[in-house]
Subunit: 132 residues, 2 copies
């Protein structure tokens, strides 16, 4: 159900805001392969490296992030949520991928990046591939 | 097999480089829900809007993009590929989600954004959530 996926997505942001390492660990998949792209960074692959990155960020103080307008795209036992992240006056866009594992939805991938412009239209998409 | 997923991922970049609208249309899923986050933009949801965005970009000239270091994360009938995109001297990181639909791997989501820094380490993750 989408409500369970949305709850898992919100639990991720809640754990981050509370800087709760145990809750963050619970959120990520145990068996499925895990990855993460923090805003502007190269990708991290593997549960150990991904969890270490969250611990490092949270130990140094998580910003007051809010998840806005989450939308679920369901693909059977996998789902991804697209949402905005509002933090420190800025807007980011995130893709959060979840897998149904051991009876609950667990995160396997988080990819977030800054939004520089609003929704593209035909005119503004002309030329460069994005806002480079 | 991962090789089939990697081939689908490369076919996406190939269609884009060749500005081949028919090939790009073939690449995206027909039945599964489709979404796309172009670099720096808000998300687009729905096949119609996503395809319109690719047509608009390709009609105005696609940049000579290269997919580098693709890595497959398999989740049963769903898989996502994380890869770098090298274009015009810049580096982007992309998450491409595929679903096995009608006997072939089809794209359901593309999320790309610029890389501003190298791989994070504990020191550089301190403080802000990313490179804001």
């Amino acid at each position: 159900m989408d409500s369970e996926i949305l709850a898992a997505n919100e639990a991720f942001y809640d754990a981050f805001r509370r800087e709760d390492a145990a809750a963050m660990d619970e959120i990520w998949a145990r068996r499925a392969p895990v990855a993460c792209v923090h805003p502007g960074w190269d990708a991290l692959l593997g549960r150990g490296r991904v969890m270490a990155s969250w611990l490092a960020i949270m130990e140094n103080g998580a910003p007051p992030i809010r998840c806005v307008a989450p939308r679920v795209q369901r693909l059977g036992e996998v789902a991804f949520v697209i949402c905005e992240e509002h933090v420190d006056g800025g807007r980011l866009i995130a893709t959060n991928v979840f897998v149904h594992e051991d009876g609950r939805w667990r995160m396997v991938h988080h990819h977030a990046g800054q939004i520089f412009r609003g929704e593209p239209d035909t005119e503004s998409l002309a030329g460069p591939h994005g806002p480079n």
